[in-house]
Subunit: 440 residues, 2 copies
Amino acid sequence: MQKRYLLNESELPTRWYNMLADMPVKPMPPIHPGTKEPMDVDGLSQIFARECAKQELDTEHVWIDIPEPVLEQYKYYRATPLVRAHGLEQALGTPAHIYFKNESVNPLGSHKLNSAIPQCYYCKQEGVTNVTTETGAGQWGAALSYAAKIYGLECAVYQVKVSMQQKPYRSSIMRTFGATVVGSPSMSTRAGKDIITRDPNHPGSLGTAISEAIELATTTPNCKYTLGSVLNHVALHQTIIGLEAEKQMAMAGEYPDVVIACFGGGSNFGGLAFPFMRHNLHDGKTTRFIAAEPDSCPKLTRGEFRYDFGDSAGYTPLLPMYTLGHDFKPANIHAGGLRYHGAGVIVSQLLKEGMMQGVDIPQLETFESATLFARTEGIIPAPESAHAIAATIREAKRCKQTGEEKVILFNLSGHGLIDMAAYDQYNNGDLINYAYQPAK
Amino acid sequence: MQKRYLLNESELPTRWYNMLADMPVKPMPPIHPGTKEPMDVDGLSQIFARECAKQELDTEHVWIDIPEPVLEQYKYYRATPLVRAHGLEQALGTPAHIYFKNESVNPLGSHKLNSAIPQCYYCKQEGVTNVTTETGAGQWGAALSYAAKIYGLECAVYQVKVSMQQKPYRSSIMRTFGATVVGSPSMSTRAGKDIITRDPNHPGSLGTAISEAIELATTTPNCKYTLGSVLNHVALHQTIIGLEAEKQMAMAGEYPDVVIACFGGGSNFGGLAFPFMRHNLHDGKTTRFIAAEPDSCPKLTRGEFRYDFGDSAGYTPLLPMYTLGHDFKPANIHAGGLRYHGAGVIVSQLLKEGMMQGVDIPQLETFESATLFARTEGIIPAPESAHAIAATIREAKRCKQTGEEKVILFNLSGHGLIDMAAYDQYNNGDLINYAYQPAK
């Protein structure tokens, strides 16, 4: 009974899949908030590494070569295993075949390193000396801290204040990798001061932290901003996940009927789903794609499709997205990586066209699912990833009712070892569900 | 530039290597503390699963088949990668080739699962319903909690009190896997009460926790005690590490001149070292074997070779070992898994014969080494494993002086993600070295 499907170094994908270039209907462009004109590479390069800005707008090249030095770094931890979850299947008594892509064995604990490495690599190539970013749960911040260290870049991270308090050890990890960590909203930026002045107890969100990081980047010489999700180039880098999974599913002699990932801005979802989606586009496959979001932060299931800012202060370009409003203040759920008001541009377009769907999951169901997964598969999942597990379990139970032997593939985007305070609360019965509270 | 050496499922070792049967000079037997007679399988089976007791005394079979169901469980996470530490080499500017066996990608975060699975499997086969154990840092307790869940056994863990306070999240992990966790010394056993009565502030040690767990096992129907290190059968199960590493080093076209592991009771050291040691015994190899222990708990470098108890209360058989005395109270270093007064029987015999050596490392040097390793290899190591890294760095620096291209292989026995409070202390300059304080 095979459990894990591995790839040799020589079988690693050497190109990323650029969904943007392959989409029959392109999303609307990012727009400059002042001029209301579409942003070009020069405009985006004010904030991002130029190569990332080019990738962000690249509607021409369906395949983009992974630079050789990035591939060398990938080889430290990739390919990650594809695992058949026999234990979970048995516990559920489902005829479904459940597979997961195990991004949690990545040394930084999540899939985020897949984009942190190329972003820092491009910055280094372009003569940048400092990088900055936001982080929620801290997975992206930890990944960027390490990637910056690889390329000798200084790194400053704005971490969402409530996540910093819930997961203090994640800041310790970033500090151990040599990064400077600041809780957001902070008094160190104009954006942060404005937020604190309006609301002294603001718990922070990815939106506030992005504002602060962008402000730092645009007011510091030789400093670029990096983002861990939402944007096209981030999802592009993450397609390494799905491209590997495709080969590994073939080793298992199966092809997924359903692909599931949790959803914050779209990086782990897009990373797994996009490579499979191209076979729906071109090869007549009919795989269903499900993005699992918190029911207290439901932009996919209850958001509005319109142009909105990616951050709280309104520093980013305007993006066409499903959004709860850039001033939306997410509930203090433990899945800090999913506390974001908007969906990435590509995913928003796909959702609008019905090529994928969203499901929203209450917090308690995510921890119940996470605990079952831990006890049957031996891995404590990140609260974020637990949303994907919960959605998977729903599908698998449906298969039990119908008797269908569906093949379900989900992304275990990260482990939950830094989230044990949340598990403690759950085990003690102190965890609650939060209702969705629309922005005022 | 190859970084990781992986094995396919079909290349997994299917037998453990039994050092005890292969040693030219056998260690003296375990002795019953009452009768002073050598213990036999029946005697040891009072405490341990019968199959483990048989393995403990097996001087006949050099190779022992891994049961098929255990192999099936191993396949969830094994083989673990062998990694060439190019980043660390470059940072040190050493001509040495540094490899590490990465047991930290194991879903429970350390090598301990390798023995937890067979021990619980044998218990289940023999009709046992409850298992109990001690744990220091919590790596063994976490592994046993999950392994017990696989086989439907109830699990109770006595965790060293100071480790429980230093690493609260490790108990959360055990609870998430469904185990009962008690801080040791506790008032729930006679042994615990005796210790607390004599010393109300006793921080606990592996010795106190073993006493409590054994007492629970011997006073509870259908309950067996399991141990995570020290004993022969535990090191036997761990030889899967070295047997894999041997194949992987061959893939890299190298053979280790030096093999290094941290040392608590000997399970990760023996697991990596014994399979290579057989080539010193039989094939004329001259590899050096180095066990790295805390300088505040230096049984290998400053202990006495004699019969001693394995626990504080004197419940275990008397074992011929290098020991600091079973009433030794180790300093509160963060490497909880190394806070143990004695060395396993096989290792003690090998040390006595000069077939291996010990080195002792101060706490601050371990964290300095751990931080360099994290920043160059992207993995935050367990404070225990950091002892092996420190010893490796010493060797690599020596190679830099002499110009020797030695091949160094060390065991990264676990990650340090549950130890971030310790890293915080180190980063804040609050961590200190402890001098060795002999037992009174």
